[in-house]
């Protein structure tokens, strides 16, 4: 830790920006009405209302989906916003942590003052209407539309189900290297579902057992159906501004204490080490900037596209040593009342997952630090981590958030 000579430079912007508004749109049915553009507008308005700001205050636009070719430009036009900062960085499910990092940096350097980050997708209702939905179908359609990509030439002929097959390969390797068991992976799904039972907005609210997970059919061995995330509609938005201006916002600020991002590969066949994600870089970078260690984290919101995604993140972020993720989760410590509360809204496994879950990590982290979570509130939460993971374990981005007391 602290080996990066630029850490001191990055620390100058520790706490300089804050999330002041957060909102998400989800439904226990998994479906939402309306176009994605409408849902984006609704989510933004709700987040601005949450902050006590208006669209006229917005001068930073952050969007990596929606529209066609130029997401942030098309969205800004729709909203009637002429921004001074625009950002459409696309890193898959980690995009919203990346955009949060970019927004905080832009605000710290004075490039914009009020930043909006938004996401909406309706794969569940789209699939019902005959669309590609999300996952294999949509990804293949996109891959086949353009010039010959390495994925189409060197992976697609072998019939890996996407994306679950890629994560299954990582799980296979982790099991062989470290003795990780299907029961240990299943425990992550069980703990996450325990949280979902306490969230009336969650898609799946019935408790499950390890036996239930193991009895659910394989999607791609060794991953069972209940090791895999949902496919739902969903939308969310967060609003960031400077620490100074946050003091005047309706609910104050949740401060961006540290950020870090990295990626290692695009295709799973090109992942340098199937048991180590880019989180081993992004996590320490974010923690160093924030001046914290894993032990300081009160609540962890970490991307759970699959149970193995969580296991690898726990190791890479330093909550346990590499290879020890299985025993680490086996006592149920990720669940309510556990020593390492994680994915307190029910996660992508049980709350919602419209394809790029990272937005919902930020929203839940903000709610936990504000103490808004009711029965699932982690008592006294002062520091939260939102850790996104995109592609096929390809990109990670880690955001450390804290209350006023931690600034």
């Amino acid at each position: 830790m602290g080996s990066d000579p630029r850490t001191e430079v990055r620390r100058r912007s520790r706490g300089a920006a804050a999330i002041v508004g957060a909102a998400d749109l989800v439904s226990p049915t998994g479906e939402l009405d309306g176009s994605t553009r409408r849902l984006e507008a609704q989510a933004i308005q709700a987040a601005l209302d949450d902050a006590g700001l208006t669209m006229a205050d917005v001068d930073g636009i952050f969007a990596c989906t929606g529209g066609t070719f130029m997401p942030s430009i098309e969205l800004a036009e729709y909203l009637g916003v002429q921004p001074s900062w625009t950002d459409a960085t696309q890193t898959g499910g980690s995009s919203f942590e990346v955009l949060c990092e970019h927004a905080a940096a832009a605000i710290a350097l004075g490039h914009c003052d009020v930043a909006v980050i938004v996401y909406a997708a309706t794969p569940k209702s789209s699939f019902k209407k005959g669309g590609p939905g999300f996952g294999g179908g949509a990804q293949r359609a996109a891959a086949l539309a353009g010039p010959v990509s390495p994925m189409v030439e060197w992976e697609l002929p072998f019939g890996m189900r996407a994306p679950m097959g890629a994560y299954a390969l990582a799980a296979s390797r982790h099991m062989a290297m470290f003795g990780t068991t299907p029961e240990q992976l299943a425990r992550i799904a069980v703990s996450t579902r325990e949280w979902a039972t306490m969230n009336p907005r969650a898609r799946l609210r019935d408790p499950i057992t390890i036996a239930d997970v193991l009895a659910s059919p394989y999607e791609a061995s060794p991953l069972h159906k209940l090791d895999c995330c949902l496919v739902t509609d969903g939308a969310g938005a967060v609003v960031l501004t400077s620490a100074e201006r946050a003091a005047d916002c309706a609910k104050g600020g949740v401060f961006v204490l540290g950020t870090g991002t990295s990626h290692t590969h695009s295709m799973i066949s090109a992942m340098p080490d199937l048991t180590v994600t880019a989180g081993a870089v992004s996590g320490p970078r974010a923690f160093d900037m924030a001046g914290i260690t894993a032990a300081d984290v009160d609540v962890l919101e970490t991307y759970d596209s699959f149970t193995i995604t969580v296991l690898l993140a726990l190791e890479d972020l330093g909550f346990c040593a590499k290879g020890e993720g299985g025993p680490y989760v086996a006592d149920g410590r990720l669940g309510p009342g556990g020593a390492r509360p994680a994915n307190t809204n029910g996660g992508g496994l049980a709350y919602t997952h419209p394809g790029m879950y990272g937005m919902f990590l930020l929203v839940e982290a903000v709610r936990q630090l504000r103490g808004e979570c009711g029965p699932r509130q982690v008592p006294g939460a002062e520091i939260a981590v939102a850790h996104g993971c995109g592609g096929v374990l390809s990109s990670t981005s880690t955001v450390v958030l804290g209350t006023e007391a931690t600034r």
Partner: protein, 141 residues
């Protein structure tokens, strides 16, 4: 090739991209070749015009061993594409080649569920409809 009807396609047949042409051409003769960098002397996969190890741009295609170890493996109980329906259950694996690089492939096995990480495997060729072949593997011995 014999010109015999290869039957219905069971797979998505790979298009030939910018860097893969020498590989696919060699598969017509069932020759397994890999791209080697003349500067650093290492093989890489997937084929690129620039060596990912050292940045060298002088790539040499050389005959390779066609042996390796199963690095990771997953059984697909459902097909990734409808045309693969009759293949299930089948394995998707990453194989660590004796020549260094790791590649995605299938391990053709009577019992796909028994294929394990660390198993030694050897290359076999599966014909494609245009005379090329697809490199897949079977358990050694």
């Amino acid at each position: 090739m014999s010109g015999a009807d290869p039957g219905p396609r069971r797979r998505f047949e790979p298009p030939v991209g910018d860097s893969g042409e020498p590989f696919w051409a060699a598969t017509r003769d069932q020759r397994f070749v890999l791209p080697w960098c003349r500067r650093c002397g290492r093989a890489h996969w997937y084929p690129r015009e620039r060596c990912p190890h050292c940045g060298g741009m002088d790539i040499d295609w050389r005959e390779a061993e066609g042996r390796g170890l199963v690095h990771a493996v997953s059984v697909m109980p459902k097909p990734a594409l409808p045309m693969m329906a009759e293949m299930v259950p089948y394995t998707v694996a990453l194989v660590e080649l004796a020549d260094g690089p790791r590649m995605m492939t299938n391990i053709v096995a009577d019992d796909p569920w028994a294929v394990a990480v660390g198993d030694p495997v050897v290359l076999i060729w599966e014909p494609l409809s245009d005379g090329r072949h697809l490199p897949v593997f079977r358990l050694e011995g």
